[in-house]
Symmetry: D2
Subunit: 366 residues, 4 copies
């Protein structure tokens, strides 16, 4: 292992988001994968054999050869990044945090907890402080938002800062990879749109209010914006497209709105986080852009692209936004959160990095 790299465990490593994490961690300057954790079904198998690999670049040979562990195994990590499903994460993540591990989670399970930051570094880096209020000793949980929300809050951030945001109307056209694997049956997807994704509208309507909320003594005071969401599944492999209308907090010229969006300077750009894009936002001039197939991977999938910025005759402004759902909206989001926490000194190297013996999976109070 590299002398200076943090030892990382990947939870849910065989799933679609887990695979993206493994891919993003290949050659990472700060992090090295030392544990791949999957369900008991795969325990002991080599990663390369157990995984139904979906990425176009194969996993590094070293990683493919690693044996899968279970979450109840003692993990010799400095931190873990979790791509677990919500039900499993609900139980496993607090157990690991209690065992002293920082957990950077893509799962929805703990996003609503008062002391868990719902973190997007360019938007609310200061919320990371919340982890000090968690009762896990050295360990803690940091959550990133839902994949559509990741794109939405980046697009809204400059508007919140410059004009205030009162209300948001959003219709999403979400990619297949957002449903994981096996996910959506092809017969439902090909040549079709499904106008419903279980639980998605609620997440889109609620999570931004916490992300834009104010850190107070009792946790995060929710932002007052009102959001209406209608999520659709479209036959696109990667890249969620959002059609967004916004009522601003004050009058603004369209040119001012454009300047706020396109000129948005990432507040964390000075921290040198490896996964942080130089520009997290860009406004397209071509009226037929952005498109998932052409633009989802722009800036390694961490940039959100805005298009069709116009006045809205019903609210105030209208635009579309494209977010790479499994990078900026999932694996890359959790990774960037981990990088921020490392840079801010929230993650310690564990001496000798002895394998952490977990407490049994008994009931625990949050």
């Amino acid at each position: 292992m590299g002398e200076n790299r943090f030892a990382v465990g990947v939870l849910g490593a065989t799933g679609a988001v887990g695979q993206k994490l493994v891919t993003l961690l290949a050659g990472h300057p700060w992090f090295e994968i030392v544990s791949l954790v999957a369900s008991s079904r795969s325990r002991g198998k080599r990663y390369g054999e157990a995984v139904h690999w979906l990425e176009s670049r194969p996993p590094e040979p070293k990683v493919a050869a690693m044996r899968l562990e279970e979450a109840v195994d003692p993990l010799a990590c400095d931190l873990v990044i979790s791509a677990l499903d919500a039900d499993t994460a609900q139980v496993i993540e607090p157990t690991l945090a209690r065992a002293g591990l920082p957990v950077f989670s893509n799962a929805s399970s703990h996003r609503g907890e008062a002391a868990v930051p719902l973190l997007v570094p360019e938007v609310n880096a200061e919320h990371l402080e919340l982890v000090r209020r968690q009762q896990f000793g050295d360990g803690f949980i940091v959550a990133n938002p839902n994949c559509s929300v990741a794109g939405l809050v980046l697009a809204l951030k400059p508007l919140v800062d410059a004009f205030g945001v009162e209300a948001v109307q959003v219709t999403t056209m979400q990619a297949l990879s957002g449903a994981g694997y096996p996910g959506v049956p092809a017969l439902d997807a090909v040549g079709n749109v499904i106008p419903h994704i279980e639980g998605e509208d609620e997440k889109i309507e609620n999570e931004p209010r916490k992300i834009f909320g104010t850190l107070g003594s009792g946790g995060v005071e929710l932002h007052h914006m009102v959001i209406s969401a209608q999520a659709n599944r479209v036959p696109v492999p990667e890249g969620h497209l959002l059609s967004v209308a916004v009522r601003l907090g004050c009058r603004a010229k369209l040119a001012e709105v454009r300047e706020a969006l396109d000129g948005f300077a990432s507040p964390i750009v000075g921290l040198g986080l490896p996964s942080a894009p130089p520009r997290p936002l860009e406004v397209c001039d071509d009226p037929s852009h952005p498109q998932p197939r052409l633009h989802a991977t722009s800036a390694d999938g961490m940039m959100v692209r805005i298009g069709r910025l116009r006045r809205c005759p019903v609210l105030d402004v209208r635009f579309v936004a494209l977010v790479h759902n499994t990078v900026r909206g999932a694996a890359g989001a959790a990774l960037l959160n981990a990088e921020l926490a490392v840079r801010q000194g929230f993650v310690r190297r564990r001496e000798g990095r002895a394998r952490t013996a977990l407490t049994p999976l008994a009931a625990f109070a949050w």
Copy 2:
């Protein structure tokens, strides 16, 4: 030719909407195709040889064997239904009307003209009266709206009647067939969404205001509703899906809105028009319905299906609507308009049905 059937000419017969018209007219009880009109390039060729046929049922042998005519040929019809592109329709349709022919047009060219009704029989049948103000002698032009608008106004009609409608926010996910043939290149469509359709947003924002307008002495007084539209192209063969939020004119319970939509009784059901669906609207209970691939053809493509009816936290109510874009939104729309006009006595059988010699294609004043 059937003794009692009206002789119909189809303009733009080789295009995608023209083919749908030919398909819908097969076995029609009132109408019989006597002329198929296409561009000069195809003139004199047999229809079955000139057309790149896209429907799954082949054209009737009798129709396939017909020779294509040009619009400048004298047409021995009682009426024409036009699937011409806008530029051609701009010139040809008034010429035919001036020659005494009723023209039922799917083109956008004349929709904005004061004396041209923008007609959806279940919504504004009374606007048909407008044709009496046209200056064409026996001939006249009736337009049907844009394909997305056809679905939108049917969904809005019961709300306008029961509660009033102040504002509409709509994001469309439109099928490939809406672009005609060859239309969208496959490389732009497969696994992709294009967040722009030229001119579409404007049509969706403007046409419903005329359709719901009031017939006055100076033409149609536009309805005051404000509409914001953002159109997208999705890789779906047939069926436009609309995500719609509405601010109503008065308070209404969700159950009342549901009852207004699902209980909507077609005001023209008593007229016995062959293409009129028994129920033009239906509300789905399954939250994943309606879907283009499963439901676009319900009730022969003339029914609009509503799903995901819910309160909207930003406006008042929210739903999705599915419309078969080339039937209810184009060919079936023009055909239904023709049926209404026949039933209401606006179309006369032309004695002897001699071929109409057109005036030359000179400039004409509207």
Copy 3:
């Protein structure tokens, strides 16, 4: 129940092929659905509520309201049509046959049994006689072939008859519906081809040899043709396309081959079977035909269309063939077999049609 119609039970009624059966049986002149059988999980639920409906036309209200039964329930039927998966069919179908029921099965479980006819009425109607050798009393099992094979043998039939067939090289491009529901994950299907379908190559290589085999005293003597198959899954909803090259048994001019194929007269056309197409085969002239999206449903999905008929420089002739996989290749195939058996007097009306009490699902010898 109609006085004169046979009482039919549908096994596996909630699956994709089961739904197609229910759809094809709507308004059938000879058959009426009286039992819908599914797994114990759905027992007692109404069909319309338990099924994830995939057809564009909804089930008849009467059928949607029927309560699902289990296969161990006594069934008050004259015959059953089975869309069970292979593992379940392996156990259930002989049990039902032993209870006296004719079973028309789409499952692969019993296709290889010596006394089970692998029946395609236009190809080997005489094989139906085999059922007399089954040891089930009044009951028996008739199988139809694999979906690709259904198309292949119809295309080969005129060639076998006129010229003999020595060898067949076939590459298939198979539709998603062939994998049932949920079937292929959309992430594997969209914008992709999968060059493998478990067990499919073997079925395509073996089943035609039995179908074209000669009825002998010891069962069916296999035809000597050699077949090489390579199956692929393509992102098409319905319609398997086969690319076929054939070495004939004797010299033949291409025009003779064409005439044999296009002029093929269905040997069962005189029987008046409701699901039998007037012409089971048709040769397309357009070099870009047949195409799944345009032509799979021709002649209600029971016709096989041949295109690109040419000399093959390696074998003798080459062509593509299109078969509607869930109609001619599955539900329609089993139904046509049932119709043939009824017409040939193999199916008796069961007096009083009392519910058949099955013997327990104990081990049984074939």
Copy 4:
């Protein structure tokens, strides 16, 4: 311009293959784009404005800012790579060669000419010598084969070498990008397969015979192998999949065939050509691989992957092969040819690299 790099002109720079060339040339160690040539319609426009960009990475700013030239303009290049359509290439390429320029062409126009090598460096590098027989002075034309052929000959090369190849039966499933842009209409592509690509079968049946031919005094003596091809278009963005059966020249065990394919050592690996893959062939063990969406880009799109290697009961062996059609099958193929020619000393730096004044586009004898 880099001191040591060759000055390259790209012909047909705005087309789909031209864009791929521009993408592959970004940062190329030997080559630098100095001229972008398109039709007269675009002449003088900036590349970034004239091109409908289809790649996910945008063109380099320096290249996007370049002004498009016409082929009749004098070009200050050391060599040109041509992505012209066949009709234009027919006229333009000899004119440029006559003007002293080496032309590396993806067009089909000159592939059949006796003195034009149909070159795949790993297969027939020695054919490059043919250019000495061309009558163009310093200039010459080198062609690369059709996109499907590029994959087929790489897969056949080890078999030809080890066992001989007598006959090949191939069915292709070809990607949309192979038709260029706009190419296939989406309505023809989505959820469909088109069993015909104009002229493709003939190219696949003829070109490999020249590529595997022997250099003789009168040109290339064609290889005697017989090929039967049937090309299909499938809704896949990139990556042609070929289903191939081969009759070998001698008996071979399947394990020997596998070893020949998987162990194939590139004969040009020692030349250090920048675009040459370390391994041009790889055999997959997973029976569901290779797949276009997952594997087309392996080894930067220059590797051909083989899967489903099995005995063929009709011929001898059977397999599928995947080739990235716009890289290995087009832009990368022409580029690799240019690299080989440079390394072998066929391309000279032109002194002062003064702009070459072309002779007028008069008729010329080959």
